[in-house]
Amino acid sequence: MNFLRLAKRDDLPKKTEWLIRAGAILLSLVFSGLILLLFKLNPIEVFKTIIIGSVGSEMRIHQTIIKSVPLIITSLGVLVAFKMKFWNIGGEGQILMGAFAASYVALFFPEMPRAMALILMIIAAVIGGGIWAFIPAFFKAKMGINETIFTLMMNYVAIKFVTFLQYQAWMDPNAKGFPRIAPFPEWALLPKLFGVHIGYIIAIILVVLVHLFIKYTKKGYEITVVGESIETARYAGMNINKIIVIAMLISGGLCGIAGMIQVSGVEKTLAVGISGGYGFTAIITAWLARLNAISALFVCIVFAMLLQGGAYIQVNLNVPSTVANVVQGTILFFVLGSEFFLQYRLIPAKRILKEGKEAA
């Protein structure tokens, strides 16, 4: 790179910034199209089918909303942790443990009014997911243990634990040997509004709450400062360990709520498949949304369309639904790459020489 020099950019105008990002997304779609072509698939047909499959009918729109709800809430959880540069990749586990705690209420508590049951289940889910996030946060705060590996391993422990419940400890004896847990009683199910369970209302409320929390509260501000620079936070006299633990409790608690909605609104019982990769996809969506809660809402809707459309093309075009993963990955690769051009600009070396001479 002798003919090019790099220089840090000053603040870019917002318009240029979004132009670069839109360009990156466009390029990523072209690139995914090329991958599809390589496998003898017509990219335009695949993309068209994804869109038809996600918003083509009322039923499919419902499905897209149902898929976007856990994604939105988990993204909120992830972004609270990521704001602090705490790499919580344990969303899957936190979803499952939240779901487990909520299921405990639904399956083993005596019958109670629906409103009370749902509130109890949400509280249980926040505690379940929160504890699962608290454990790595505690070790990070106290002993500086790397949280990436820790949260990730907690995912697998949770998956194995729920598998154990589903296939052994809580297996429904009335299911004739089929490995499933008994369905929830009627009073533990989320009610529907306009044909979809009310999880989407909870999701929108949480988006607003998290946005207000990060923008306008002291704790939210402290989380951002710790993420920007630990030194600054320490110099300002913040209790960093406490902030890490609180932020992770919020992060895990949110993921737990996503789990509760999955069991109470969608699956109607606890099953190991309920987390369905949302914990990982949420990392992509949170990053694409630049860790902003409101943007996350929109990014997640687009990604839910990709997921729902991916499931649809599997049936319709006989293309594996994992195509959606390839497209998601490609989009994020390009957006990650484009961030470089937001921060730096390339200057031909000749011009530097010339400018230098003129200055002299």
């Binding site: 496998f39 697998y156 634990f161 293309v319 994992t322």
Partner: protein, 308 residues
Amino acid sequence: MEGFLATCIVAATPLLFATVGELLTEKAGHLNLGVEGMMLMGAVIGFLAALKTDSALIALLAACFAGAGGALIFAILTVTLRANQVVTGLTLTIFGSGFAGFVGQPILGSMVPAKTSAFFVKRAVPLLGSIPFLGPVMFRQDIFVYLSYGVVIIVAFYLYRTKPGLNLRAVGESAPSADASGINVTLYKYVHILTGGALCGLGGAYLSLVRVPIWQADVVNGRGWIAVALVIFVSWNPLKAFLGAMLFGGLSIVGLRMQAMGVSVSQYLVDMIPYVSTIVIVILSSYKKGKEKQPPRDLGNPYFREER
């Protein structure tokens, strides 16, 4: 006992390739969390190559290229474009799992063809194979396992006994100082991230070609992540990686063994052991002191010369 240890080695081999691959990457100062993805890419492409050509060597080469291809995406983004390493690595894992599912769809359930699997039968090494105890455990394995021994020895020698190995460690410790002393930092990073990816690809191919010779999309099943943890566990030392991989390989099969011996344990709970022990080990390794046992100092920091 010998039989059990020999099985441990088989279970350890994919972990060993991936661990040494990630170790090289981290020595260059980059934390690549895409190991799982690169293993999957190696697994599916290696399998596909075997299916198309029925040549074990071409399959191995293809797996190397697939892993290195994944690593190239990571290198372009994190070395040249200075993207966040954690997020890029995770994306690579998601991309890799999608890639394996997508590319592997038409061959789901296919078997490794005869000539290739015949190439990977267990063969005793002359002389070494007849050493008591060590022989049956280590030297009556398949060629792929012997390749992993070779990789460990070569990487250890390279890191601690050669000039480029020394330079590499310098890059990982402090990219600015390495740059100032005339080392081509970018080149070193690219070469070792790509080599690391190729090794991860081989680890994946061991799973799809030898361990489970029928193609299934979830063949890697979290082993890539265990490899990331193993690198910490063995404190960035390739020779220790051999023992670490054996320990973890052993843990992953101990449940079946216990059941075979009539000990009544829940398979689902036993399946937790490798993950719980990884957590315990990561915690314990934080107690280790000494310069040799610390991560490369510049691990995860992007290097921007003009910002020095």
